[in-house]
């Protein structure tokens, strides 16, 4: 017997579809989280790059400030010593300064305002470099009034202060940018965090729903299995009861069959006994129907008439017996006394009759007729024929 009813198969398909939908939703949420996280990661990297970029600009501004101070110091050292070594050092420091300015220009290239600031700083630095070149050239000729004049013209360090002020302004602006970019990076990280948390939470909820669906489906399966088991138990109980009933009926039938066989044997015995009695009678005995057709006869009939049972059964009694009047009265009877007696329900005794054998020879006999009753209704009769006594000589 199949354990899955058609309805249960339908429920299976429905559960499977629901699970499939839930799992597809989980996958969709997962894909969304992955894509969004990757995009956020890219944005975070970009934000981080911008933070690094801003730090780099600040770092270059600091380096310019520091290199300018170093270059000015190296220049003055050379002006004091006149040593070639100090001149080379001064040139190298200015070279480094130029490198930092180039990098600062490149870093601010995409921001016109800041780029202009750097260009202005570069212009001021170029003026300082120009003065340095003049001083170097003048010092090459010895520590004379030219050098002193040039230095005097630069007294107060206003230009250097202006450069430092502009660098400070640039750094302040960069610090503001840094704060803004750091905030953007922080918010980006927060967005990523919320995206991942929300997606994960949603996925967990969907998985819980899927688990609930599976649990519900399993419960339904258990209920169906229990119902099926109960139905099977009821069926088995009915089968057992029916089997017991059939066994009882069978036993009863066996007993009844035995009784019937015994009864049949008793009847056969009775019949044979009755037949034996009838057959042992030397008088002619015939059993007729209500219509006076022969239904049975004893051997005395065959002996006397030469006709067998096969010849006489279902034949009218009149074929071999004809009722007559009293001796000497040859007039035909106007009615049949036997039929009349049966109709009246009375016996007919010692009525003269003629028996005809198979050769047509006749024999006078005395006829007795007894009606056979079944519940007060005449259904036939018994005819007994006795040879009539010979008339006295006379």
């Amino acid at each position: 017997m199949s354990t899955d009813s058609p309805g249960f198969v339908g429920a299976d398909g429905r559960t499977f579809r629901r699970l499939l939908v839930l799992l597809l939703l989980v996958l969709a949420v997962l894909a969304f989280v992955v894509v969004e996280s990757l995009r956020n990661l890219d944005r975070s990297i970009a934000a981080s790059d911008w933070v690094n970029h801003t730090h780099a600009v600040i770092s270059e501004a600091d380096a310019i400030d520091a290199n300018l101070a170093a270059a000015e110091g190296d220049l003055r050292t050379y002006l004091l010593t006149g040593e070639q070594r100090d001149r080379d050092t001064c040139q190298e420091t200015f070279s480094d300064l130029a490198g930092h300015v180039d990098v600062a220009k490149a870093l601010t290239r995409a921001a016109p305002t800041q780029y202009q600031q750097v260009l202005q700083i570069e212009s001021l630095l170029a003026q300082r470099a120009s003065l340095a070149r003049e001083l170097l050239r003048a010092r090459a000729g010895g520590p004379g009034p030219t050098v002193a004049g040039l230095l005097a013209g630069d007294a107060g360090g206003a230009a250097a202060h202006e450069i430092s002020r502009r660098l400070l302004a640039l750094k302040d602006e960069q610090n503001e940018l840094l704060a803004a970019r750091d905030t953007a990076a922080y918010l980006q990280a927060q967005t990523t965090r919320w995206t991942v948390l929300t997606g994960t939470g949603l996925d967990i909820l969907l998985l819980v729903a899927a688990a609930w669906l599976i649990r519900d489906d399993l419960a339904a399966r258990r209920r169906a299995a229990a119902a099926l088991q109960e139905a099977n138990d009821r069926l088995e109980t009915r089968v057992r009861e029916r089997t017991a009933e059939l066994a009882a009926i069978n036993a009863q039938l066996v007993a009844q069959n035995l009784e019937d066989r015994w009864s049949h044997q008793a009847l056969e015995h009775q019949l044979r006994y009755s037949q034996l009695i009838i057959n042992s009678i030397s008088d002619l005995v015939l059993v007729v129907t209500k219509a006076l057709n022969i239904s049975r006869l004893n051997p005395a009939v065959t002996r006397l008439t030469g006709l067998t049972a096969a010849d006489l059964v279902d034949q009218p009694l009149a074929r071999i017996v004809r009722l007559t009047r009293e001796r000497g009265d040859t007039a035909p009877l106007r009615f049949d006394p036997i039929a009349q007696a049966f109709a009246d329900g009375r016996d007919l005794r010692s009525h003269p009759a003629i028996l005809t054998d198979h050769l047509g020879r006749t024999t006078p006999v005395r006829l007795d007729a007894f009606p056979l009753r079944d519940r007060d209704k005449v259904v036939g009769g018994v005819i007994i024929l006795q040879p009539a006594a010979a008339p006295p000589p006379g």
């Binding site: 290199n67 490198g99 570069e122």
Partner: protein, 205 residues
């Protein structure tokens, strides 16, 4: 084997130290005396007709790292067998360029680290990096643009880069000339063409 992470360095504040000629010669002579059995000399490198970037790198497998703010003269670097990325890259550029190699010196500025110098060799489509001197692949393959090189160099440090600048160096003047600078946050299509150098208005001769 990757070179250990470089230490932090504060920008130079004081006057730069230079190597006087007499000191260079003295150190070179001492180096030749002490290391004459195995140290390669600048003359050997210059006169080696079969010198390739890979063969050049093979001479430095046993060199030690030592940060030196000014670029060391080639003879001093070779004699001492100690130096930094600038010394190595500048020497590679100095030695390989006369042999027909299209070399470029590149400074990559890394976040929180000192700038790192490498020498890119166009024919090899790779750059020579002092940090790779004692590994099997002494040449690190890279595309020719500054952005590609900077990205590759930064990746070797597991770091981010902010900008990369092409430069040249002259042992004679002991000064660097700065060229094109690529900034990481700029759109790549706006990157300046590699190879160009210019004389800064701030340069003092």
């Amino acid at each position: 084997m990757r070179f250990p992470q470089l230490s932090w360095r504060v920008e130079r504040r004081g006057p730069a130290r230079r190597w006087p000629r007499w000191a260079v010669l003295a150190v070179a002579a001492a180096g030749l005396t002490v290391f004459e059995t195995h140290a390669v000399t600048l003359a050997q490198l210059e006169q080696n007709p079969r010198l390739t970037p890979r063969r050049f790198a093979s001479y430095f497998a046993d060199f030690a790292y030592e940060l030196s703010l000014p670029v060391q003269p080639a003879e001093v670097f070779l004699a001492r067998e100690k130096g930094d990325c600038d010394d190595y890259a500048v020497l590679a550029d100095f030695v390989l360029k006369p042999k027909g190699y299209a070399t470029r010196l590149i400074h990559v500025r890394l976040v929180g680290r000192i700038p790192h110098a490498v020498c890119y060799v166009a024919q090899s489509k790779a750059y020579l990096d002092y940090n790779n001197r004692d590994v099997f692949f002494t040449l690190a393959r890279s595309g020719p643009t500054l952005r590609e090189i900077a990205t590759k160099v930064a990746a070797s440090f597991d770091a981010n880069w902010t900008s990369a600048t092409e430069f040249t160096y002259s042992y004679a003047s002991e000064a660097k000339s700065w060229g094109a600078t690529v900034v990481k946050t700029d759109p790549p299509q706006d990157d300046p063409a590699p190879g160009e150098t210019h004389l800064s208005k701030i340069y003092v001769d």
